[in-house]
């Protein structure tokens, strides 16, 4: 069984199939629906390819990492992020769908932020791309609000007991990006070097940014 199938299916699906077996019911159903929409002239096949290519290859968490690295390096940009995140992020050309109204929340020694969407899968696409499977799935969505410390521990993130944890449930079109704390030992680093320490998970808030040692190892 491939790991891919494991994570693309519901948690209690039968996983007993592999690539040598016929396409799944859902694969056939989607294929039939796509054909119907194309034949009726309701979708343009070339547009489908552009949509897929955009989110598979162009828009992703390296965008967010650039925002974070710039905020770590440029106090004026950081100030702008807190005053008007949508405009500050747009200055780097990250705009639009699922990022129309951005808010940046900062991790400090006293506060740690964590983002979830308990009702669906709201996520800041222009800066992080499409959400990972776990972000959209029931275990995270159910427990992030009721047991955030337990959730963080599942990601290997252990915080001091006196750090306040703020969970942001994305129930409107406001989209939240976590600004992780800048790792120690990065004085004088360039924005490019800093961006390499910024993981997707650190911008959702389930992990911290990489340390310089971890950054070298990866």
């Amino acid at each position: 069984m491939s790991k891919d199938h494991d994570h693309s299916q519901g948690h209690d699906h039968d996983h007993g199939h592999d690539h040598t077996e016929p396409p799944s019911d859902i694969a056939l159903r989607v294929k039939a629906l796509e054909s119907l929409l194309v034949e009726k002239g309701l979708v343009d096949p070339a547009a489908l390819e552009v949509l897929i290519d955009t989110y598979e290859h162009k828009v992703g968490p390296r965008n967010g990492a650039r925002v974070v690295a710039k905020a770590w390096s440029d106090p004026a940009f950081k100030k702008w992020l807190f005053e008007d995140a949508t405009a500050a992020i747009a200055s780097l050309d990250y705009t639009g769908r699922q990022g129309e109204h951005m808010e940046v929340v900062e991790n400090t020694g006293q506060t740690h932020n964590l983002v979830v969407c308990t009702l669906c899968s709201c996520y800041p696409w222009p800066v992080l791309g499409l959400p990972p499977v776990w972000y959209k799935a029931a275990p995270y969505r159910s427990r992030a609000v009721s047991d955030p410390r337990g959730v963080l521990e599942e990601f290997g993130t252990s915080l001091p007991g006196d750090t306040e944890i703020r969970v942001w449930d994305s129930t409107s079109e406001m989209r939240y990006l976590v600004l992780p704390a800048r790792p120690e030992g990065t004085d004088g680093w360039s924005e490019e070097q800093l961006a390499a320490l910024v993981t997707r998970n650190s911008m959702i808030g389930v992990e911290l940014a990489k340390s310089p040692e971890d950054g070298k190892a990866s």
């Binding site: 489908l48 769908r97 669906c120 129930t171």
Partner: protein, 223 residues
């Protein structure tokens, strides 16, 4: 609606079991790519808005919603929206055979490849440039109304009846609960802070708070 999508605070779903960030693919099967793309492309006809899309997914039988994978829920929602909007008939959906091409003016609405980048970059802001008086001010104590509508709502069950504090006024946004049913109404949207101990009682771990975005109609003075 009190559906299976409203997951905050539920138990029993097991570990999060995340894939490693460095080698998680964006899509896990070819059909997921197609499901994603046809959903976005079909939306270009403007027959439904984002809240209608969410409501179409959450209107499924709760057992189906929970059993389905993410993009299976997207497809279930898309089929519902296509039929309800009249873009596709029940018979066409069942047979997979078109009864004819769509009218020319409808086909003209389908997004073209060369328009995709600009359309995505523009997005669909939900702020409304109208005057709506704020019912609440930053720092006000509020209670989430005990509402249980059978239609769409963005007030999660776990927050209802609980006390919180207005943290920020985000201005006037389209009210999602009505937008899902075709009425575009502007209301003030607030970030409201809830202490974990108020939401979850004695079992809550120390020093945790939840921030939820809620509109005027979701809130009443704590009084």
């Amino acid at each position: 609606m009190n559906g299976a999508h409203d997951l905050g605070g539920m138990h029993g779903f097991g570990p999060i079991d995340p894939e490693a960030e460095d080698n998680e693919p964006i899509f896990h099967a070819e059909w997921e790519r197609r499901a994603f793309a046809i959903t976005l492309a079909a939306g270009s006809h403007g027959r439904w808005n984002i809240d209608m899309s969410r409501h179409a997914r959450e209107r499924q039988d709760p057992a189906d919603y929970l059993r389905h994978s993410y993009y299976e829920n997207w497809i279930a929602g898309l089929e519902t929206l296509l039929v309800e909007s009249g873009l596709v008939s029940e018979a066409e959906l069942a047979s997979g055979k078109p009864e004819g091409v769509a009218p020319k003016d409808v086909r003209a609405q389908a997004i073209k490849a060369e328009r995709v980048a600009a359309t995505l970059a523009k997005g669909a802001p939900t702020t409304m440039n109208i005057e709506v008086e704020a019912k609440f001010n930053t720092g006000d104590r509020v209670r989430v109304r005990n509402i249980n509508p059978t239609g769409h709502t963005r007030a999660p069950r776990y927050a209802r009846g609980n006390l919180g504090t207005i943290q920020e006024d985000h201005g006037v946004h389209i009210f999602a609960d009505k937008n899902a049913h075709g009425t575009k109404e502007g209301q003030r949207l607030y970030s409201v802070r809830f202490e974990a101990s108020d939401l979850w009682g004695e079992g809550a771990r120390n020093k945790c708070a939840v921030y939820i975005d809620l509109w005027d109609d979701h809130l009443e003075p704590a009084a």
